[in-house]
Protein backbone atom coordinates (compact mmCIF):
# COMPACT_ATOMS: atom_id res chain seq x y z
CA UNK A 1 0.00 0.00 0.00
CA UNK A 2 1.56 3.28 -1.08
CA UNK A 3 2.09 6.00 1.52
CA UNK A 4 0.33 9.32 1.13
CA UNK A 5 2.94 11.91 2.08
CA UNK A 6 1.83 15.53 2.43
CA UNK A 7 4.49 17.56 4.26
CA UNK A 8 5.74 16.28 7.61
CA UNK A 9 3.41 13.68 9.09
CA UNK A 10 2.41 14.09 12.72
CA UNK A 11 2.77 10.36 13.27
CA UNK A 12 4.42 7.92 10.91
CA UNK A 13 4.71 4.17 11.38
CA UNK A 14 7.04 2.27 9.08
CA UNK A 15 7.09 -1.54 8.97
CA UNK A 16 6.24 -1.83 12.68
CA UNK A 17 6.42 -5.41 13.96
CA UNK A 18 5.33 -6.52 17.41
CA UNK A 19 5.28 -10.12 18.56
CA UNK A 20 4.08 -11.69 21.78
CA UNK A 21 5.92 -14.98 21.97
CA UNK A 22 5.30 -16.75 18.67
CA UNK A 23 2.25 -14.64 17.95
CA UNK A 24 2.96 -11.80 15.55
CA UNK A 25 0.36 -9.16 16.40
CA UNK A 26 1.72 -6.39 14.20
CA UNK A 27 3.39 -7.67 11.06
CA UNK A 28 4.72 -4.60 9.27
CA UNK A 29 2.28 -1.76 9.90
CA UNK A 30 2.64 1.34 7.74
CA UNK A 31 0.54 4.36 8.55
CA UNK A 32 0.96 8.08 8.53
CA UNK A 33 -1.27 10.68 10.15
CA UNK A 34 -1.09 14.31 9.05
CA UNK A 35 -1.34 17.29 11.44
CA UNK A 36 -4.95 18.15 12.23
CA UNK A 37 -6.21 14.98 10.62
CA UNK A 38 -8.62 12.55 12.28
CA UNK A 39 -7.87 8.95 11.37
CA UNK A 40 -9.80 5.87 12.47
CA UNK A 41 -8.27 2.41 12.50
CA UNK A 42 -10.92 -0.25 12.14
CA UNK A 43 -10.52 -3.97 12.51
CA UNK A 44 -11.79 -6.97 14.42
CA UNK A 45 -11.09 -7.77 18.04
CA UNK A 46 -7.53 -8.92 18.62
CA UNK A 47 -6.13 -7.54 15.37
CA UNK A 48 -3.63 -5.34 17.19
CA UNK A 49 -5.42 -1.99 17.19
CA UNK A 50 -4.64 -1.29 20.85
CA UNK A 51 -1.12 -2.63 20.43
CA UNK A 52 -0.57 -0.08 17.66
CA UNK A 53 -1.53 2.80 19.94
CA UNK A 54 0.55 1.44 22.81
CA UNK A 55 3.59 1.16 20.55
CA UNK A 56 3.26 4.81 19.52
CA UNK A 57 2.91 5.87 23.17
CA UNK A 58 5.97 3.85 24.15
CA UNK A 59 3.93 1.62 26.46
CA UNK A 60 5.00 -1.33 24.33
CA UNK A 61 8.25 -1.58 22.42
CA UNK A 62 8.03 -2.79 18.82
CA UNK A 63 10.36 -5.63 17.82
CA UNK A 64 11.32 -3.76 14.67
CA UNK A 65 10.27 -0.85 12.53
CA UNK A 66 10.19 2.88 13.04
CA UNK A 67 7.67 5.25 14.62
CA UNK A 68 8.18 8.99 14.35
CA UNK A 69 6.22 11.78 16.00
CA UNK A 70 6.79 15.17 14.36
CA UNK A 71 9.78 13.60 12.65
CA UNK A 72 11.36 12.37 15.90
CA UNK A 73 11.98 8.66 16.32
CA UNK A 74 10.25 7.29 19.44
CA UNK A 75 11.21 3.62 19.27
CA UNK A 76 13.93 2.82 21.79
CA UNK A 77 14.24 6.27 23.39
CA UNK A 78 14.93 6.57 27.13
CA UNK A 79 12.22 7.06 29.74
CA UNK A 80 12.92 10.78 30.23
CA UNK A 81 12.83 11.49 26.51
CA UNK A 82 9.66 9.38 26.20
CA UNK A 83 8.06 11.36 29.00
CA UNK A 84 8.86 14.57 27.11
CA UNK A 85 7.37 13.18 23.88
CA UNK A 86 4.25 12.13 25.80
CA UNK A 87 3.44 15.78 26.55
CA UNK A 88 2.13 15.83 22.97
CA UNK A 89 -0.32 13.01 23.66
CA UNK A 90 -3.61 12.52 25.37
CA UNK A 91 -5.32 9.17 25.49
CA UNK A 92 -8.89 8.12 26.16
CA UNK A 93 -8.73 4.50 27.36
CA UNK A 94 -11.44 2.03 26.52
CA UNK A 95 -12.66 1.57 30.09
CA UNK A 96 -11.79 5.15 31.03
CA UNK A 97 -8.92 3.95 33.24
CA UNK A 98 -9.80 6.61 35.80
CA UNK A 99 -7.86 6.37 39.06
CA UNK A 100 -10.48 4.94 41.38
CA UNK A 101 -8.61 6.01 44.52
CA UNK A 102 -9.03 9.73 43.87
CA UNK A 103 -11.90 12.16 43.26
CA UNK A 104 -12.92 13.36 39.81
CA UNK A 105 -11.10 16.70 40.06
CA UNK A 106 -7.76 15.06 40.89
CA UNK A 107 -8.29 12.64 38.00
CA UNK A 108 -8.97 15.44 35.54
CA UNK A 109 -5.92 17.46 36.58
CA UNK A 110 -3.56 14.50 36.97
CA UNK A 111 -1.76 15.28 33.71
CA UNK A 112 -0.89 18.72 35.15
CA UNK A 113 0.04 17.72 38.69
CA UNK A 114 1.55 14.28 38.03
CA UNK A 115 -0.01 13.33 41.36
CA UNK A 116 1.60 16.11 43.38
CA UNK A 117 -0.53 18.03 45.85
CA UNK A 118 -0.27 21.38 44.09
CA UNK A 119 -2.66 24.30 44.55
CA UNK A 120 -5.99 22.56 45.09
CA UNK A 121 -8.17 25.63 44.42
CA UNK A 122 -6.58 26.30 41.04
CA UNK A 123 -6.68 22.62 40.08
CA UNK A 124 -10.37 22.40 40.94
CA UNK A 125 -11.02 25.39 38.71
CA UNK A 126 -9.10 23.80 35.84
CA UNK A 127 -10.98 20.54 36.39
CA UNK A 128 -14.25 22.46 36.26
CA UNK A 129 -13.33 24.11 32.94
CA UNK A 130 -12.40 20.80 31.35
CA UNK A 131 -15.49 19.05 32.67
CA UNK A 132 -17.59 21.84 31.19
CA UNK A 133 -15.97 21.22 27.83
CA UNK A 134 -17.23 17.62 27.89
CA UNK A 135 -20.67 18.66 29.11
CA UNK A 136 -20.33 17.83 32.81
CA UNK A 137 -21.13 20.05 35.75
CA UNK A 138 -19.11 20.95 38.81
CA UNK A 139 -21.29 18.93 41.19
CA UNK A 140 -19.34 15.76 40.34
CA UNK A 141 -15.93 17.27 41.20
CA UNK A 142 -15.69 15.47 44.53
CA UNK A 143 -17.24 12.17 43.50
CA UNK A 144 -15.20 9.02 43.02
CA UNK A 145 -15.15 7.42 39.56
CA UNK A 146 -17.16 4.40 40.76
CA UNK A 147 -20.02 6.72 41.72
CA UNK A 148 -20.44 7.76 38.07
CA UNK A 149 -22.28 6.02 35.23
CA UNK A 150 -20.29 4.48 32.38
CA UNK A 151 -21.00 7.37 30.03
CA UNK A 152 -19.99 9.94 32.64
CA UNK A 153 -16.79 8.04 33.39
CA UNK A 154 -15.92 8.17 29.72
CA UNK A 155 -16.50 11.90 29.62
CA UNK A 156 -14.42 12.46 32.76
CA UNK A 157 -11.67 10.39 31.15
CA UNK A 158 -11.97 12.58 28.07
CA UNK A 159 -11.67 15.70 30.24
CA UNK A 160 -8.55 14.19 31.80
CA UNK A 161 -7.06 13.48 28.37
CA UNK A 162 -7.60 17.05 27.10
CA UNK A 163 -6.69 18.94 30.30
CA UNK A 164 -2.94 19.17 29.51
CA UNK A 165 -3.86 20.49 26.01
CA UNK A 166 -2.26 17.71 23.96
CA UNK A 167 -1.55 18.05 20.23
CA UNK A 168 -2.56 14.46 19.53
CA UNK A 169 -5.39 12.49 21.13
CA UNK A 170 -5.85 8.73 20.92
CA UNK A 171 -9.30 7.28 21.38
CA UNK A 172 -9.45 3.58 22.21
CA UNK A 173 -12.95 2.27 21.38
CA UNK A 174 -14.59 5.54 22.52
CA UNK A 175 -18.17 4.31 22.03
CA UNK A 176 -17.87 0.72 23.23
CA UNK A 177 -20.26 -0.08 26.07
CA UNK A 178 -22.44 2.99 25.58
CA UNK A 179 -26.01 3.09 24.32
CA UNK A 180 -26.45 4.55 20.81
CA UNK A 181 -27.48 7.99 22.06
CA UNK A 182 -24.59 8.33 24.51
CA UNK A 183 -22.27 6.93 21.84
CA UNK A 184 -23.38 9.67 19.48
CA UNK A 185 -22.80 12.30 22.18
CA UNK A 186 -19.23 11.04 22.54
CA UNK A 187 -18.82 11.15 18.75
CA UNK A 188 -20.02 14.76 18.71
CA UNK A 189 -17.67 15.63 21.55
CA UNK A 190 -14.71 14.10 19.76
CA UNK A 191 -15.57 15.88 16.51
CA UNK A 192 -15.89 19.23 18.24
CA UNK A 193 -12.69 18.73 20.25
CA UNK A 194 -10.75 17.90 17.13
CA UNK A 195 -12.13 20.97 15.39
CA UNK A 196 -12.02 23.44 18.31
CA UNK A 197 -8.69 22.43 19.76
CA UNK A 198 -7.12 21.69 16.38
CA UNK A 199 -5.73 18.39 17.56
CA UNK A 200 -4.67 15.37 15.55
CA UNK A 201 -6.83 12.38 16.39
CA UNK A 202 -6.27 8.67 16.03
CA UNK A 203 -9.21 6.48 16.94
CA UNK A 204 -9.44 2.72 17.07
CA UNK A 205 -12.92 1.34 16.82
CA UNK A 206 -15.11 -1.37 15.39
CA UNK A 207 -18.12 0.92 15.47
CA UNK A 208 -18.70 1.91 11.82
CA UNK A 209 -21.12 4.70 12.67
CA UNK A 210 -18.53 6.24 14.95
CA UNK A 211 -15.68 5.78 12.47
CA UNK A 212 -17.63 7.51 9.72
CA UNK A 213 -18.61 10.37 11.99
CA UNK A 214 -15.32 11.26 13.63
CA UNK A 215 -12.69 10.36 11.03
CA UNK A 216 -11.53 12.05 7.83
CA UNK A 217 -9.69 8.95 6.86
CA UNK A 218 -10.10 5.28 7.72
CA UNK A 219 -7.51 2.51 7.77
CA UNK A 220 -8.29 -1.15 8.20
CA UNK A 221 -6.00 -3.42 10.20
CA UNK A 222 -6.13 -7.11 9.41
CA UNK A 223 -3.61 -9.86 10.18
CA UNK A 224 -1.17 -7.33 11.58
CA UNK A 225 -1.10 -5.09 8.48
CA UNK A 226 -2.98 -2.09 7.18
CA UNK A 227 -4.77 -3.73 4.26
CA UNK A 228 -6.70 -0.66 3.12
CA UNK A 229 -6.91 3.04 3.82
CA UNK A 230 -8.85 5.81 2.23
CA UNK A 231 -11.18 8.74 2.86
CA UNK A 232 -14.25 7.93 4.95
CA UNK A 233 -16.58 8.39 1.97
CA UNK A 234 -14.91 5.45 0.31
CA UNK A 235 -15.48 3.14 3.30
CA UNK A 236 -18.60 1.56 1.81
CA UNK A 237 -17.26 1.27 -1.74
CA UNK A 238 -13.65 0.47 -1.05
CA UNK A 239 -13.53 -2.35 -3.57
CA UNK A 240 -11.70 -4.37 -0.94
CA UNK A 241 -13.52 -7.61 -0.02
CA UNK A 242 -12.14 -7.60 3.53
CA UNK A 243 -13.30 -4.05 4.19
CA UNK A 244 -16.69 -4.78 2.58
CA UNK A 245 -17.23 -7.79 4.81
CA UNK A 246 -16.18 -5.87 7.92
CA UNK A 247 -18.22 -2.70 7.37
CA UNK A 248 -21.29 -4.72 6.45
CA UNK A 249 -20.80 -7.05 9.40
CA UNK A 250 -21.19 -10.28 7.46
CA UNK A 251 -20.09 -13.61 8.98
CA UNK A 252 -19.19 -15.07 5.58
CA UNK A 253 -16.38 -13.68 3.48
CA UNK A 254 -12.59 -13.67 3.36
CA UNK A 255 -12.32 -12.87 7.12
CA UNK A 256 -13.04 -15.87 9.30
Amino acid sequence: MAEIVRGAPKIKLTEVVKRFGDNSVLDGVNLSVEPGESVAIIGGSGTGKSVTLKCILGLLRPDSGSITVDGTEVVGVGSREMSRIRTKFGMLFQGGALFDSMPVWRNVTFGLTQGRMTDAAQMRRIAEENLERVGLKRDILNLRPNELSGGMQKRVALARAIAPRPEIIFFDEPTTGLDPIRADMINDLITSLVEDLGVTALTITHDMVSARKIANRVAMLYNGRIIWHGPRDRLYDSGNPYVDQFVQGRADGPIR
Binding site: R86, G95, A97, L98, F99, Q114, G115, R160
Partner: protein
Protein backbone atom coordinates in the same frame (compact mmCIF):
# COMPACT_ATOMS: atom_id res chain seq x y z
CA UNK B 1 24.18 -33.00 15.14
CA UNK B 2 20.60 -33.21 16.31
CA UNK B 3 20.07 -36.20 14.05
CA UNK B 4 22.27 -38.39 16.27
CA UNK B 5 19.95 -37.81 19.27
CA UNK B 6 16.59 -39.50 19.40
CA UNK B 7 13.85 -36.88 19.61
CA UNK B 8 12.59 -38.30 22.91
CA UNK B 9 15.92 -37.61 24.64
CA UNK B 10 15.98 -34.07 23.33
CA UNK B 11 12.42 -33.63 24.51
CA UNK B 12 13.41 -34.84 27.97
CA UNK B 13 16.25 -32.28 28.14
CA UNK B 14 13.90 -29.58 26.90
CA UNK B 15 11.32 -30.50 29.54
CA UNK B 16 14.01 -30.27 32.20
CA UNK B 17 15.59 -27.11 30.82
CA UNK B 18 12.45 -25.07 30.31
CA UNK B 19 11.48 -24.69 34.00
CA UNK B 20 15.12 -24.10 34.96
CA UNK B 21 15.38 -21.29 32.42
CA UNK B 22 12.01 -20.05 33.64
CA UNK B 23 13.22 -19.82 37.24
CA UNK B 24 16.38 -17.94 36.25
CA UNK B 25 14.38 -15.61 34.03
CA UNK B 26 12.04 -14.89 36.94
CA UNK B 27 14.93 -14.21 39.33
CA UNK B 28 16.36 -11.85 36.74
CA UNK B 29 13.06 -10.00 36.36
CA UNK B 30 12.62 -9.63 40.12
CA UNK B 31 16.21 -8.41 40.52
CA UNK B 32 15.73 -5.88 37.70
CA UNK B 33 12.51 -4.73 39.33
CA UNK B 34 14.21 -4.31 42.71
CA UNK B 35 17.15 -2.38 41.25
CA UNK B 36 14.81 -0.13 39.27
CA UNK B 37 12.83 0.59 42.44
CA UNK B 38 16.02 1.42 44.38
CA UNK B 39 17.31 3.76 41.66
CA UNK B 40 13.96 5.54 41.31
CA UNK B 41 13.74 5.85 45.09
CA UNK B 42 16.77 8.14 45.18
CA UNK B 43 15.95 10.33 42.17
CA UNK B 44 13.16 12.93 42.02
CA UNK B 45 10.27 13.46 41.81
CA UNK B 46 9.47 12.23 45.31
CA UNK B 47 5.99 11.69 46.67
CA UNK B 48 6.15 12.25 50.44
CA UNK B 49 2.37 12.32 50.79
CA UNK B 50 2.06 8.91 49.10
CA UNK B 51 4.81 7.56 51.37
CA UNK B 52 3.02 8.86 54.47
CA UNK B 53 -0.26 7.32 53.33
CA UNK B 54 1.44 3.96 52.85
CA UNK B 55 3.09 4.19 56.28
CA UNK B 56 -0.40 4.55 57.75
CA UNK B 57 -1.71 1.67 55.68
CA UNK B 58 1.16 -0.75 56.27
CA UNK B 59 2.17 0.29 59.79
CA UNK B 60 -0.65 1.86 61.73
CA UNK B 61 -3.52 -0.24 60.40
CA UNK B 62 -1.54 -3.46 60.88
CA UNK B 63 -0.97 -2.77 64.57
CA UNK B 64 -4.11 -4.52 65.89
CA UNK B 65 -3.28 -7.71 64.02
CA UNK B 66 0.37 -7.54 65.03
CA UNK B 67 -0.45 -6.78 68.66
CA UNK B 68 -2.87 -9.69 68.98
CA UNK B 69 -0.43 -12.06 67.31
CA UNK B 70 2.33 -10.98 69.68
CA UNK B 71 0.36 -11.23 72.91
CA UNK B 72 -1.02 -14.69 72.10
CA UNK B 73 2.36 -15.99 70.97
CA UNK B 74 4.25 -14.56 73.95
CA UNK B 75 1.79 -16.09 76.41
CA UNK B 76 1.74 -19.46 74.68
CA UNK B 77 5.53 -19.46 74.53
CA UNK B 78 5.77 -18.87 78.31
CA UNK B 79 3.37 -21.75 79.00
CA UNK B 80 5.19 -24.13 76.66
CA UNK B 81 8.61 -23.39 78.12
CA UNK B 82 7.23 -23.77 81.63
CA UNK B 83 5.66 -27.14 80.82
CA UNK B 84 8.64 -28.37 78.82
CA UNK B 85 11.18 -26.97 81.27
CA UNK B 86 9.55 -28.47 84.36
CA UNK B 87 10.32 -31.97 83.05
CA UNK B 88 13.99 -31.40 83.82
CA UNK B 89 13.58 -28.84 86.53
CA UNK B 90 14.34 -25.84 84.31
CA UNK B 91 11.06 -23.94 84.57
CA UNK B 92 12.93 -20.91 85.91
CA UNK B 93 14.30 -20.30 82.40
CA UNK B 94 10.86 -19.04 81.26
CA UNK B 95 11.70 -15.29 81.20
CA UNK B 96 15.03 -15.84 79.49
CA UNK B 97 13.66 -18.03 76.72
CA UNK B 98 10.60 -15.87 76.20
CA UNK B 99 12.77 -12.83 75.61
CA UNK B 100 15.26 -14.72 73.48
CA UNK B 101 12.71 -16.52 71.33
CA UNK B 102 10.40 -13.57 70.95
CA UNK B 103 12.99 -10.94 70.06
CA UNK B 104 15.26 -12.98 67.83
CA UNK B 105 12.81 -15.24 66.08
CA UNK B 106 9.08 -15.22 66.72
CA UNK B 107 8.56 -11.45 66.78
CA UNK B 108 10.15 -10.72 63.40
CA UNK B 109 8.86 -13.86 61.68
CA UNK B 110 5.27 -13.66 62.89
CA UNK B 111 5.01 -9.93 62.24
CA UNK B 112 6.56 -10.50 58.82
CA UNK B 113 4.06 -13.23 57.98
CA UNK B 114 1.04 -11.36 59.35
CA UNK B 115 1.94 -8.17 57.50
CA UNK B 116 2.75 -10.14 54.35
CA UNK B 117 -0.72 -11.67 54.50
CA UNK B 118 -2.35 -8.32 55.03
CA UNK B 119 -0.21 -5.98 52.94
CA UNK B 120 1.53 -7.93 50.15
CA UNK B 121 -1.89 -9.21 49.09
CA UNK B 122 -3.39 -5.72 49.17
CA UNK B 123 -0.50 -4.28 47.15
CA UNK B 124 -0.75 -7.02 44.53
CA UNK B 125 -4.53 -6.69 44.29
CA UNK B 126 -4.45 -2.90 44.00
CA UNK B 127 -1.61 -2.70 41.47
CA UNK B 128 -3.00 -5.73 39.63
CA UNK B 129 -6.41 -4.11 39.29
CA UNK B 130 -4.73 -0.92 38.11
CA UNK B 131 -2.82 -2.97 35.53
CA UNK B 132 -5.85 -4.82 34.12
CA UNK B 133 -8.02 -1.68 34.05
CA UNK B 134 -5.21 0.17 32.20
CA UNK B 135 -4.73 2.63 35.07
CA UNK B 136 -0.97 1.94 34.98
CA UNK B 137 -0.92 2.75 31.26
CA UNK B 138 -2.96 5.88 31.97
CA UNK B 139 -0.42 6.89 34.59
CA UNK B 140 2.37 6.60 32.03
CA UNK B 141 0.51 8.59 29.38
CA UNK B 142 -0.05 11.30 32.01
CA UNK B 143 3.74 11.31 32.39
CA UNK B 144 3.87 9.87 35.87
CA UNK B 145 6.34 7.13 36.66
CA UNK B 146 4.53 4.21 38.27
CA UNK B 147 7.71 3.22 40.09
CA UNK B 148 8.08 6.58 41.78
CA UNK B 149 4.38 7.21 42.32
CA UNK B 150 3.13 3.76 43.36
CA UNK B 151 5.93 1.30 44.00
CA UNK B 152 8.66 3.27 45.79
CA UNK B 153 6.27 4.67 48.44
CA UNK B 154 4.96 1.16 49.16
CA UNK B 155 8.35 -0.52 49.34
CA UNK B 156 9.93 2.29 51.37
CA UNK B 157 7.02 2.35 53.80
CA UNK B 158 7.25 -1.41 54.29
CA UNK B 159 11.00 -1.26 54.98
CA UNK B 160 10.53 1.55 57.52
CA UNK B 161 7.33 0.28 59.16
CA UNK B 162 8.30 -3.35 59.76
CA UNK B 163 11.19 -2.71 62.21
CA UNK B 164 8.99 -0.38 64.25
CA UNK B 165 6.20 -2.93 64.32
CA UNK B 166 8.55 -5.73 65.28
CA UNK B 167 9.86 -3.71 68.22
CA UNK B 168 6.28 -3.09 69.33
CA UNK B 169 5.38 -6.75 68.83
CA UNK B 170 8.41 -7.88 70.81
CA UNK B 171 7.43 -5.64 73.71
CA UNK B 172 3.86 -6.89 73.63
CA UNK B 173 4.96 -10.51 73.31
CA UNK B 174 7.30 -10.26 76.28
CA UNK B 175 4.48 -8.63 78.21
CA UNK B 176 2.15 -11.48 77.25
CA UNK B 177 4.65 -13.99 78.59
CA UNK B 178 5.10 -11.91 81.71
CA UNK B 179 1.36 -11.70 82.41
CA UNK B 180 0.85 -15.43 81.97
CA UNK B 181 3.90 -16.23 84.11
CA UNK B 182 2.73 -13.93 86.92
CA UNK B 183 -0.98 -14.73 86.98
CA UNK B 184 -1.02 -18.39 85.97
CA UNK B 185 2.38 -19.90 86.65
CA UNK B 186 3.00 -18.03 89.92
CA UNK B 187 6.27 -16.31 89.07
CA UNK B 188 7.49 -13.39 91.13
CA UNK B 189 7.00 -10.23 89.10
CA UNK B 190 10.16 -8.44 90.23
CA UNK B 191 12.51 -11.35 89.63
CA UNK B 192 10.82 -12.17 86.29
CA UNK B 193 11.43 -8.61 85.10
CA UNK B 194 14.98 -8.63 86.40
CA UNK B 195 15.75 -11.82 84.46
CA UNK B 196 14.06 -10.41 81.36
CA UNK B 197 16.22 -7.30 81.49
CA UNK B 198 19.34 -9.32 82.04
CA UNK B 199 18.69 -11.42 78.93
CA UNK B 200 17.58 -8.57 76.69
CA UNK B 201 20.73 -7.90 74.66
CA UNK B 202 21.34 -5.10 72.20
CA UNK B 203 22.60 -7.62 69.62
CA UNK B 204 19.29 -9.45 69.73
CA UNK B 205 17.35 -6.25 69.18
CA UNK B 206 19.58 -5.39 66.24
CA UNK B 207 18.96 -8.77 64.76
CA UNK B 208 15.21 -8.25 65.11
CA UNK B 209 15.44 -4.85 63.41
CA UNK B 210 17.56 -6.13 60.53
CA UNK B 211 15.30 -9.12 59.96
CA UNK B 212 12.27 -6.84 60.02
CA UNK B 213 13.74 -4.45 57.46
CA UNK B 214 14.59 -7.35 55.15
CA UNK B 215 11.09 -8.81 55.57
CA UNK B 216 9.60 -5.40 54.84
CA UNK B 217 11.60 -5.22 51.63
CA UNK B 218 10.44 -8.70 50.65
CA UNK B 219 6.80 -7.82 51.35
CA UNK B 220 6.97 -4.62 49.31
CA UNK B 221 8.89 -6.26 46.48
CA UNK B 222 6.64 -9.32 46.17
CA UNK B 223 3.44 -7.29 46.47
CA UNK B 224 4.49 -4.72 43.89
CA UNK B 225 6.28 -7.08 41.50
CA UNK B 226 3.40 -9.54 41.28
CA UNK B 227 0.81 -6.78 41.14
CA UNK B 228 2.43 -4.82 38.35
CA UNK B 229 2.91 -7.94 36.21
CA UNK B 230 -0.73 -8.97 36.43
CA UNK B 231 -2.36 -10.13 33.22
CA UNK B 232 -5.75 -11.61 32.46
CA UNK B 233 -8.54 -9.77 34.22
CA UNK B 234 -10.10 -10.73 37.56
CA UNK B 235 -8.57 -14.22 37.56
CA UNK B 236 -5.17 -12.64 36.92
CA UNK B 237 -5.60 -10.35 39.93
CA UNK B 238 -6.46 -13.36 42.08
CA UNK B 239 -3.38 -15.21 40.88
CA UNK B 240 -1.12 -12.19 41.44
CA UNK B 241 -2.44 -11.83 44.98
CA UNK B 242 -1.85 -15.50 45.79
CA UNK B 243 1.61 -15.43 44.21
CA UNK B 244 2.52 -12.30 46.20
CA UNK B 245 1.55 -13.83 49.54
CA UNK B 246 3.02 -17.28 48.95
CA UNK B 247 6.31 -15.97 47.56
CA UNK B 248 6.59 -13.41 50.39
CA UNK B 249 6.00 -16.16 53.00
CA UNK B 250 8.62 -18.45 51.54
CA UNK B 251 11.20 -15.70 51.06
CA UNK B 252 10.61 -14.39 54.60
CA UNK B 253 11.16 -17.84 56.14
CA UNK B 254 14.16 -18.52 53.91
CA UNK B 255 15.84 -15.16 54.58
CA UNK B 256 15.11 -15.61 58.31
CA UNK B 257 17.13 -18.81 58.26
CA UNK B 258 19.95 -17.18 56.31
CA UNK B 259 20.16 -14.13 58.58
CA UNK B 260 20.04 -16.34 61.67
CA UNK B 261 22.83 -18.59 60.39
CA UNK B 262 25.01 -15.68 59.29
CA UNK B 263 24.55 -13.83 62.58
CA UNK B 264 25.32 -16.85 64.75
CA UNK B 265 28.32 -18.01 62.71
Amino acid sequence: MTDSFPASILAAFAALGRPVIGVFAMIGRIATFAVTALLRAVTPPFYPARFAAQLMEIGWYSLPVVGLTAIFTGSALAQQIYTGGSRFDASSTVPAIVVFGMVRELGPVLVGLMVAGRVASAMAAELGTMRVTEQLDALATLRTDAFRYLIVPRMAAAVIALPVMVLIANSIGIMGGFLLAIYKLGFNAASYLATTRKFLQADDIWMAVIKAAVFGFIIGLMGCYNGSRTAGGAAGVGKATTDAVVSAFILILFSDLIITLVAIR
